[in-house]
Structure formats: structure tokens, C-alpha cells
Subunit: 198 residues, 2 copies
């Protein structure tokens, strides 16, 4: 009996789980059987998924996920209007906010330039970024350290500098708790490059 | 920003995911953001969970999960009526069916004896098991090799033997592809005990 010999509603649920990232067929089966035994968990999950799709939209200003317009960060009056942090995706905002170290505003690009995937400047929230520069002293790029992330930062940097903004990017280097032995050479090279005087 | 600073519908979805077994807060966040970016996957998952709860029930005969009564295995005429395999949970039926090596019928206990958790004989499908013995030559226990599983097999064995049934259990030993070096001593002792002449 493979997955398709489960009763169809159960096979469907296993298939639905296995479409999630990082969930293989075995985990999908385990989760599906768990839901059948825990009706409350299943109903909560189904309801929460439907509600999130219905109520969560992109903030009209920054592109972050929100249930109000504009989002709570854009609406906050006590943040630093002179700093704007550019990220790839809405979830990156959450990662940065968790640090508690950044008090400016955000701008979600919605991806990075990737010509092979057909993602050019027009597919990203770049026009809206350019309209937000009034009063901004520094634009910090917090893009992922990938080839596409670097290319996107370079491209945007070329657009923003002539408009008078200071442009920076977050540091690349060894992760805290990391080990030189396990770090790749590009990371080590970046860490050397970004060394700071003590 | 911790998880509670997400917009509420998003925080709810993260919480719902983190109630699943083996899904920690970080994975829950990743899955929730994935669903927001993939509406089709989210709707499919929510729909499949609701439908499975609505349509899947326990088979009236064997206790397996099914969308028809009796389940397709109990309804099959071409299986071996003389063999009955006793398992803990409905999902164990799927594991055994996948081997393609067993052609008898099943009986799902719905758990194992566990006095500390308040699970005694009356909480398991034992009465219905005793009513199914007509024409059965062999009852095979395929319970998990835990203390509770062993105790349950011993208890049921004591009930079934006086009724004339041959009682057996699946072999315990080294898993195929396993390595003596990594096996625990109880497994190795069981494997020795269950050795077979070549």
C-alpha cells in the first residue's frame, strides 16, 4: 500500500502536507495521522490558514505582511525616520525586529533581481522605494549574501547614490558561535575584509 | 519582535503549526510564511484537513481509518481469513501494507495498556478482537517493542490462547541496513534470541 492506497481524503491530506517546504512524504504521513487523532489541532490549523490568507496583506507603504493598513511599523511614530532598511521578503522584517537593534523603517523588495527567473527591476518594489527617500539619511541593505542579493544591492546602490542617500549593507562574516574550521572560504574572506580595529 | 508581535492572524497560524509534532517555532514560522506566499498550497491544506476530519472514520470492524464502511481491507474477499494482525494504531496498518508481505486482516487496538496513563483493557478495542476469532488460525502481534507493547502482547496472549488461537509476534532484531556498532544492547540481545538456523 503506497500513499495512494490510503482512503482518498487521507491521501489528499498527506499530499497537501508534502507540498510544504522541508516536509517529505514520511513526515507528511505522520502529520496527517496526527491531525486525524487531534481534531482540535486540525481545525485550528485549517481555520488559521484560511484566516491568514483572508486577513493578511502586504503593507501599502513597505510591503511587510500586515492585517492593518499601513502596517504597525509604518504607523509607529517613535521610530527613526532617517533610516530605511531594504529586505528581500516580509519574513526578513521579523528576523530583524527580533534583534531589537534596529529602530528605523523597512522596505520589502519582494525578491531580488534574477534575470534567469524573469525577475527584473519592474518585478520588485523599487519604484515605491525611490518615492520613500525624503528625509532618509541612510538606506541599509539587509539582503541575503547570495549572488542575486549582491547584484541587487549593487544595482539599487547605483540608483540611490545619485539621489543623495548614504547606502550601506549589513556585515558579512562568521556567525556568532560559528567556527573557522567549518566556515567556507568566501565567508572567511568577507570576515577578513570587514575586520574592525579593537 | 517575538512571535506575538506578528499580526495576529499570522501569529495564530505560526502557533497552529507549532502544535504539530516535530515542528518547532522556527519551522512553524517558515511554514506560515510559505503559506502566505503560496495561496494554492494553503487552501489545499486547509481544505484537505477539514475534509479528512469529516470523511475519515474508524472502520467498524477493524478500527483502521477509512472513508467507507467497512474499510477496503475488511471488505476484500481475496485476503487470508485465517490470519489476523493486531496493531496499536491505524497508521501501523499502512506501514505493514507497504511491505506487500501480509495478506491477512487487521485489528487496530487504538493504543497499548498503560496504567499510568489510565489506559486499561476497557479503553482498547479488545472486546471486538475477541469477537473476531472465528476461523482465525493465527493472531500476529505487530505492536511496538516498548515496555507497554510487550505487556499488552503478553496480556492479550493470555486471553487468546485459551480460545484456541495460535499467537505470534513479529521479530525483534537488527533493522536491515543497521550496524551492530550502533545497536543498543537490548536489540542485540533480542536479535541473538531470535537467531535462525541457516
Amino acid at each position: 500500500m503506497n500513499v495512494f492506497a490510503y482512503p482518498e481524503p487521507l491521501a489528499d491530506l498527506v499530499m497537501a502536507f508534502s507540498r510544504l517546504p522541508g516536509i517529505g512524504p514520511k513526515t507528511a504521513g505522520r502529520l496527517a495521522f496526527y491531525l486525524l487523532r487531534h481534531e482540535d489541532v486540525a481545525l485550528k490549523l485549517a481555520g488559521a490558514a484560511e484566516r491568514a490568507l483572508r486577513e493578511i496583506t502586504a503593507c501599502e507603504i513597505c510591503g511587510n505582511y500586515t492585517d492593518v493598513q499601513p502596517c504597525r511599523i509604518c504607523a509607529a511614530a517613535n521610530r527613526d525616520r532617517t533610516m530605511l532598511c531594504v529586505v528581500e521578503q516580509a519574513r526578513d522584517v521579523a528576523s530583524l525586529e527580533k534583534t531589537g537593534e534596529y529602530n528605523g523603517y523597512y522596505h520589502v523588495l519582494g525578491g531580488v533581481l534574477s534575470p534567469l527567473d524573469g525577475i527584473g527591476p519592474d518585478q520588485l518594489n523599487i519604484a515605491s522605494l525611490l518615492r520613500r527617500l525624503t528625509g532618509v539619511n541612510e538606506v541599509v541593505f539587509a539582503l541575503n549574501p547570495t549572488v542575486e542579493g549582491e547584484a541587487t544591492a549593487a544595482y539599487l546602490s547605483g540608483l540611490l547614490k545619485p539621489l543623495g542617500a548614504t547606502v550601506s549593507r549589513i556585515a558579512h562574516g562568521l556567525p556568532v558561535g560559528g567556527d573557522l574550521e567549518y566556515a567556507d572560504e568566501v565567508t572567511i574572506a568577507r570576515a577578513l575584509e570587514g575586520r574592525r580595529r579593537l
